[in-house]
Structure formats: structure tokens, C-alpha cells
């Protein structure tokens, strides 16, 4: 079952459950609760990953009615929850009033409602912040503009003859080049111990990636001269408490070790390196190509791809063209592209993350829009009389419109701020838990910027209808006839 189909099915199910149960028990509190449940379960699916079996399906289908019926049974009724406020609306009773305070106090007057709404908005922005940052982290790896990759035209998993390396290296406009092989490595456990192990040519690799790896001179020397040397990034070393000099067995889920007939190779840690923030090599475990090539039982003298630097980014296109035409019509045709473009297409192979992000975040915001919008409209309708009084006293319609808009805007900004803070927290935890997979997640400034724009738009859209109805409200009708 693929993740997107599952997600779509879940969203459909969620909407259905929402429609059915909001019929049974309408009300903003219930709707907000539905939404929370819905969003939480989607988040759960994303976290649990791709392998979702029938058991989880069964759980989910069971969970929806159970949780809903549970809520109906224990729903806070008006009697059990009298109009009590958890927070004092006007904390400072001795203060004077102004429009901003009026907005704040109006928002706080029904604290249960306000808290539920803020939490809903919080979750939407949490999802947005985490998913989009995640997406940015894996698609926008920072690489130098003059870094390029040559790989098989058929597929990036297809290998190339080692002879290609020399020819690329001696192409006009190529400054330095190295080649890399995907080892399919893991430590102890196939799934949890997965790591991006590359077999590289030490000398040329360290030249091409000299600015990317912070290595001690000693580690560098060892890697250049010891056949079984291994370089590991700091996050992975910390995760397994590895130290320099330690012997580490690493498995391959592709290759067989000809010297012992197993899938295991023994390595000695030559060094632990650090990389600049968001670097493409941040999670790379490096082994030597000669050791790898001499011991594998098949695919010998082939390389995975060639990574190289051009003399300047302006010659990228020309160099790519020169390389690809040179190998055209050969056994192994090549495709040469910028490293940045390659990273993006590599991420696209992992699953269409952007689509999942758009779907989930879109669903969350659509639901939020409805819930917050209707609740704001209700809140203002409840205050019809007060609006009438303010207008009688001489408050202009425009001023009242601004106060209502201010209220929805404040709500949305509070939710967004809390959501982004939570997202920053989640990303921090993720990047510290996850030694192997991604690493280095954080809230990007661009994500914060877009969130601010979304928060303002959300505030405006959810507030505009109630604000306009307050604006148009006729005094005599608002004050009501007795």
C-alpha cells in the first residue's frame, strides 16, 4: 500500500467521519475536537512511514467511531461545564480600556473556545513547519554552484565503467573529480541501522569535498593510507558512541564480501568529521574504493557516479554537454547535471514528498479555515447587542470592523507562533534522535516567513465575514426589540 493512497483514503475517511459525527453532535467544541483527532491521526501516519499494513487500517477504522462515541458520552455538556473561565478575562481590573485591550479581552472571554481554536491552529502550523522544513532539508541541500554529477542516463542506480572517471577528469572545464559507489550499508539492523555508506577514492574525494569535511590531519592521513579506514560524521559516531581506532563491522544489503562469503566488511574508524550546516555530506559514511572493489564478488571496476567541480558555474552547461556527447551511443550513456538538481531528483525518488506535504497541510488549513471561520462568526453573533451598544455610543462601523478583524488576526497569530515554536522543538528532537536518516533539520527562515504570511491571510479570511456583518449591523436591529 503506498503512502499517498493511504493518505488520500484517510483524508476521505476523516471527512466522512467529520460529516457524520458533526451531524450527530454539532457545535464548535465538537468540531474542533474532530479536527484535532483528524490531524493527529494524519500526523501519525506520516511518522509511521510507508509500511502500513491491514492491521493499522483496522485500528484506524475502529478508532474513529470509538473516539467519537467516547467523546459523545463524555462530552463536556453545558451543565457540567458552566460558563466558567479558566483565565480571568480582565486580569487588571484597575487598568483603562483601549481598542487593543478590548480585542484581547474579547478573545479571552470564552477561554475554552479560544484555547481549542488556538490548539487547532497550532497543530496546522506545527504540521506546516515540520513538513515543509523536512521537505526543504532534503531537497535544498546546499552545494557549491560549480558542483556537478555524471551518472548513468538510464537510472542513478546503474553503474558506469571506471574508465569514464579519467575521461571526465580530463574534460575541458573540469577542476577536480572523484567517483563514488553506493554500498547499501547498515550497522547491525537493516532498518534502524541504515546509513549512507559510500565507497570513494580517498585522494580525489578529499580534494573535491575539501570544503565540506572538517577533518583532523591525522584522520586524513589514515584515510589516505589504510585500506580498511572508515570516516563517519559526528552525528552517527555520537549515536553509536564510536571512537577513532575502533573496529566496526558494516553490512551491505547489495554486495557479498568475497574474502569471507558474507555481507559483512570490517573497518577501522580513521576519523570523525563535521560538516557545515545543511551540507550534502552531513550523513555520509565513507569507505575506500580499492578495499571495496577488491573484495566484492560482482560489479567490479564499475563506479556509481562521478562527482566533480567545474572551473566556474558559467561553464556547467558546456561541460555537461561535452561529457554526455562523448559517451553518447556507448554501452553506458551518461547524464550530467548540477548537484543541486541531482539532489532534487534523488529526493523525488524517495516519494513525492512535496505532494504529501501539500495534501496534508492543505487539508489541515482547509479544516482550520472552516472551524475558525464559523466559530468567529458565532462569537460575533453572540455579541450582536454589544456591537449595537458600541455603535450607539458613537463607535464608527470601521472601528468595529477593525476590532473584529484584530481579534481573528490575534488568534491566528497566537496559534501560528505557538505552532512554529512547537515545530522548532519537534525538528530539534528529530535531528537529534535521527542519527542516520536525515539530520540537521531546523526551521528555515523562509518557512517562518511563509507561515507569517499564511497566519495573516488566515486571520483576514476567518475574520472578514464576521467583521463585515458587524460593520453592516443596524443599531436598532442589533439592540433588538422587546
Amino acid at each position: 500500500m503506498n503512502r499517498i493512497t493511504y493518505l488520500l483514503a484517510h483524508i476521505l475517511l476523516g471527512v466522512l467521519a467529520f460529516l457524520v459525527f458533526t451531524r450527530v453532535a454539532p457545535g464548535p467544541l465538537f468540531s474542533a475536537f474532530q479536527l484535532l483527532f483528524f490531524i493527529l491521526s494524519i500526523t501519525l501516519i506520516i511518522w509511521r512511514g510507508i509500511n502500513i499494513g491491514w492491521r493499522n487500517w483496522a485500528w484506524l477504522i475502529l478508532l474513529i467511531p470509538v473516539v467519537n462515541v467516547g467523546f459523545l458520552l463524555f462530552a463536556p455538556s453545558k451543565e457540567r461545564f458552566p460558563k466558567r473561565n479558566f483565565i480571568e478575562i480582565t486580569p487588571d481590573r484597575s487598568t483603562t480600556v483601549d481598542d487593543v485591550r478590548l480585542v484581547r479581552w474579547n478573545l479571552a472571554r470564552n477561554s475554552v473556545r479560544t484555547i481549542l481554536l488556538s490548539v487547532s491552529i497550532l497543530i496546522a502550523f506545527l504540521l506546516f513547519g515540520v513538513l515543509v522544513s523536512f521537505n526543504v532539508a532534503i531537497t535544498d541541500v546546499r552545494t557549491a554552484p560549480n558542483r556537478m554529477v555524471t551518472l548513468s542516463k538510464i537510472n542513478f542506480t546503474e553503474s558506469l565503467p571506471i574508465a569514464y572517471f579519467d575521461r571526465v577528469l580530463h574534460t575541458d572545464g573540469v577542476l577536480a573529480a572523484t567517483h563514488m559507489n553506493w554500498f547499501g550499508g547498515y550497522y547491525q539492523d537493516q532498518r534502524r541501522g541504515f546509513m549512507a555508506v559510500f565507497a570513494v577514492d580517498p585522494d580525489s574525494y578529499l580534494r573535491v569535498y575539501q570544503d565540506d569535511l572538517h577533518l583532523t590531519p591525522q584522520a586524513r592521513e589514515t584515510f589516505l593510507h589504510e585500506r580498511t579506514a572508515l570516516l563517519v560524521p559526528r552525528n552517527i559516531a555520537d549515536r553509536y558512541h564510536w571512537r577513532v581506532g575502533q573496529h566496526i563491522p558494516i553490512n551491505s544489503n547489495i554486495f557479498t564480501n568475497g574474502t569471507n562469503g558474507s555481507h559483512v566488511w570490517d573497518f577501522t574508524i580513521a576519523g570523525i568529521f563535521e560538516t557545515p550546516d545543511g551540507n550534502s555530506q552531513a550523513n555520509s559514511v565513507l569507505i575506500r574504493y580499492d578495499y571495496f572493489n577488491d573484495t566484492i564478488t560482482f560489479g567490479r571496476d564499475r563506479i556509481g557516479w562521478i562527482s566533480f567541480l567545474t572551473t566556474s558555474a558559467t561553464v556547467n552547461d558546456r561541460v555537461a554537454h561535452a561529457i554526455d556527447t562523448r559517451f553518447a551511443n556507448s554501452q553506458d550513456e551518461t547524464s550530467t547535471q548540477d548537484a543541486a538538481a541531482f539532489n532534487r531528483s534523488f529526493a523525488a525518488q524517495l516519494g513525492n514528498i512535496a505532494l504529501v506535504v501539500t495534501l496534508v497541510v492543505g487539508a489541515a488549513f482547509a479544516a482550520i479555515l472552516l472551524i475558525v471561520g464559523t466559530t468567529m462568526a458565532l462569537a460575533v453573533r453572540e455579541r450582536t447587542k454589544e456591537v449595537g451598544v458600541l455603535k450607539t455610543l458613537g463607535f464608527s462601523s470601521g472601528r468595529i470592523l477593525r476590532m473584529v478583524l484584530g481579534e481573528s488576526m490575534l488568534l491566528s497569530l497566537i496559534g501560528a507562533t505557538l505552532g512554529l515554536l512547537a515545530a522548532a522543538g519537534v525538528l530539534y528532537i528529530l535531528s537529534h534522535l535521527n542519527g542516520g536518516g536525515g539530520g540537521g533539520f531546523h526551521l528555515y527562515p523562509s518557512v517562518i516567513g511563509i507561515s507569517a504570511a499564511i497566519a495573516i491571510a488566515l486571520g483576514l479570511v476567518t475574520g472578514i465575514l464576521p467583521a463585515l456583518s458587524a460593520y453592516r449591523m443596524n443599531i436598532i436591529e442589533a439592540l433588538g426589540r422587546r
Binding site: I89, T90, R93, S94, T95, T96, V97, D98, D99, W105, N106, R109, K385, E386, G388, V389, L390, K391, T392, L393, G394, F395, S396, S397, I475, I476, L479, R481, R482
Partner: protein
């Protein structure tokens, strides 16, 4: 004495579908500066409608309404709103205080429409609350006060911006006799000592006695009455 309000041939009609309902056809009246007028009459006779016309919260279909020599029926919606803020104080039967605000904050609301500093606003609020005898309740919320106290807060709110005219729609309709008399006494004091012109709608003859004169409205016309001056 000069006239504060002059209504001339005022017509007010409501259209309900094709049907036209005339509340007033040719109503004229004058209210002098410093008057305390009680408006009485059966339900549906147009008392509230008249009050709304006087206070600029509703518009006449035809005719002229002058306040202090100026035509308020000619004002735009925005001008009328400003005019209300400066010249009229409203007191309602059900007080209509903001539940989230304290007494002092409720009284302060009309001052947000002036450019007084917070400090000056606080002083004026204290004065207004003092006049209605509620200085000790400044920090109480409406639900922490009795009906009579709430109505006195509403009176303080009506006078805090120092308007010339006070319009009261059954201000004691929801109060018992003693409390009503206290509230009416306060209104009388505002009229006598501060020179406020007051128009008060009431169903209660005893309440009307606090006024200087009483007009009886029936089916959109003033009718003669032994109490009318």
C-alpha cells in the same frame, strides 16, 4: 428658554413587503434646553421610535430634526455617529453594559472617542461614578452588581462625555420601586444640578412624576393629558 430640539412635520414609515406602516405622519415637537420630559403611551405607540429619531440612531422618512439649531437629519452616517458621541447619552432598560469590562471600564468607553489621555479619562470616569454614587464599585463586573447598580453605571457611562441630551428608554422598567426611585432621583439630580436635558420613556406614572412634564403618545400622535404642561 431656547429650544434644544425641534421636530417639524416628521414622518416615519416602515415598509413591510408592499405594506406601508406609518408610525408618525406629521409629528412636530419642541424640547427646551434643561427640560426633563417623560414620554408615556401604550405599547406600540412609537415611543422608542421617537427616541431613536431624537438620538440619531434612526432616520425620519420625511421632515426636519434640529438639534441646537443644526439639522441632524442632513448629516451623513459618519457625521451622525460623531454627533451622537458628542451630544447624546443613552440609557437602556436592560443596562447593556459590556460583561467583560468593570464598571469603570464600561463608563470609560465613550471617552475612547475623545482624545483624552488615559489619566484624564480615569479622572472623568471617577467623577461620573461619583455623581451616581458608585465610586466603591469601580472595579466590579456587571454580573457582580445589582440591577440598580448596573443602571447607575449605565447612567455614568451616558454622562461621562458630558452630552447635552440624555435619552432613557424605560430606565426603571426592570427595577423594583425603591431602586427605581433611586435611579430616578439620580436622573432628577442630573437635570436639576447639571442642566442635562432628559427625555425618558416610561410606562410608570410614578416614574413620570420625577419629570418636569409628561407627554402622552398614542398611535403616533401626542394626546392631551392632565399632566402635560
Amino acid at each position: 428658554m431656547t429650544d434644544l430640539i425641534r421636530l417639524t412635520d416628521v414622518e416615519k414609515t416602515y415598509t413591510r413587503g408592499k405594506e406601508k406602516i406609518a408610525i408618525f405622519e406629521r409629528l412636530s415637537m419642541r424640547i427646551e434646553q434643561g427640560d426633563f420630559l417623560a414620554l408615556m403611551g401604550p405599547s406600540g405607540s412609537g415611543k422608542t421610535t421617537l427616541l431613536n429619531l431624537l438620538g440619531g440612531t434612526d432616520r425620519a422618512t420625511r421632515g426636519t430634526i434640529e438639534f441646537d439649531g443644526k439639522r441632524i437629519d442632513k448629516l451623513s452616517e459618519g457625521q451622525l455617529t460623531n454627533w451622537r458621541a458628542q451630544n447624546v447619552g443613552f440609557i437602556f432598560q436592560f443596562y447593556n453594559l459590556m460583561p467583560i469590562l468593570t464598571a469603570a471600564q464600561n463608563v470609560e468607553l465613550p471617552l475612547l472617542l475623545t482624545n483624552l489621555s488615559p489619566k484624564k479619562r480615569r479622572e472623568n470616569v471617577a467623577t461620573a461614578l461619583n455623581i451616581v454614587g458608585l465610586s466603591d464599585r469601580a472595579r466590579h463586573k456587571p454580573r457582580e452588581m445589582s440591577g440598580g447598580q448596573q443602571q447607575r453605571v449605565a447612567i455614568a457611562r451616558a454622562i461621562v462625555a458630558d452630552p447635552k441630551l440624555l435619552l432613557c428608554d424605560e430606565p426603571t422598567g426592570d427595577l423594583d420601586r425603591t431602586t427605581a426611585d433611586e435611579v430616578l432621583g439620580t436622573l432628577q439630580l442630573l437635570n436639576r444640578d447639571l442642566g442635562k436635558t432628559i427625555v425618558m420613556v416610561t410606562h410608570d406614572a410614578a416614574a413620570a412624576k420625577f419629570a418636569k412634564r409628561t407627554l402622552h403618545l398614542d398611535k403616533g400622535h401626542f394626546v392631551a393629558s392632565e399632566l402635560a404642561a
